[in-house]
Symmetry: C2
Subunit: 229 residues, 2 copies
Amino acid sequence: MGANSSTAFGVEAGSPDAAEAGVTDLFAVLAYGEISAFYRLAEEAKLSPTLRGKVAVAKMAANEMDHFKTLERALSDRGVDVFDGMAPYVRALDAYHASTDPSTWLESMVKFYVGDGIAADFYTEIADALAPEVAEVVRDVLAETRHSEFVIDEVRTAVEQNRSERDRLTLWGRRLLGEAITQAQYVMAQRDELTDLVLSATGDLNGIATLFERMQDSHAERMRVLGLG
Amino acid sequence: MGANSSTAFGVEAGSPDAAEAGVTDLFAVLAYGEISAFYRLAEEAKLSPTLRGKVAVAKMAANEMDHFKTLERALSDRGVDVFDGMAPYVRALDAYHASTDPSTWLESMVKFYVGDGIAADFYTEIADALAPEVAEVVRDVLAETRHSEFVIDEVRTAVEQNRSERDRLTLWGRRLLGEAITQAQYVMAQRDELTDLVLSATGDLNGIATLFERMQDSHAERMRVLGLG
């Protein structure tokens, strides 16, 4: 769909202009991802049983804001206001978070680790198709946070001795993957320029299918790291 | 009270050891101040009428976490675990926030600007009595955030044309000052080492009274900047 309809805006798919429009869209959706992750983390920290947990989550949230600032600068360098850029993605990302609202501290931890991982897989693959200086911004803001060790410890320790908790969180992880893929498709449908980027990163529709398969494999690996699945 | 009872711990008031204990207490209370400000800001951002406001608040909150990390390092350099250090101050600071829970976006903005300012006045005066490298840490974490302009604009614009809002926020500011001073006294009462620090910074009990007078003057100036009072 994207490759054709983007020409309706007078920008030919595959041209430098189209690629540039896709890049600002990519930066903008990532920026809104950071700000919504920030507020989700801050909200979910209430579920933490300890002050230590709350501090760890606050650091993770602050880290998301560092990434937001990087993207805000990158957009500003391209003459795009971050708020204008983010507007088309507010609904899809809010919907993802609303449909995966954790009800326990451990669900929140799994969501942070697994959800961030899925997003990182998706956008990093797209980044491969971009100019090196653009790809660097994307990789920079998606780099695994230094706080993942805390999350892994929290979850592994909790599920090691508790089979029913492990089963519950395994189902939760599966649901997160499903919702994330649904929302990724919805995000792409919002903007032809993003679809074009994904197509040029993956080759064609078969390539997109293969991308989603690779994402499922990485997801399974992350679940294993958490002691789940 | 402090100067005498601290000797009960085998540390003579005025000795280098006593001063060092006061410094770690000061860092610890500031650290808990940062983490609780982080979560307060994240919570109050819900009151923001715009995404722009939420992003500004998220940046302010992330800034508090940078300060927290500075203090955590400074405590760790002194062999003190930040969580052990913060424990005695949790109740007093939580009580301050509970007693000054903003019910509107503008109350939240005034609290951020005025509350942070009062705390900065108080702790910066104490820092004057400390070794230069210690005072530098304190000044660093209390430096006015770069986001104050946003706060000033929000409040000034809102009260310029609205007399009843201005009156309401003026009373709110007065209440913040009262609660902050109550809690500062309560915090000092928790730890003799902190009281000793304040006494050595201010000279004597008269000095403390003068300190609180200076804090009231700065408070009045900040209220004027916001277009209040």
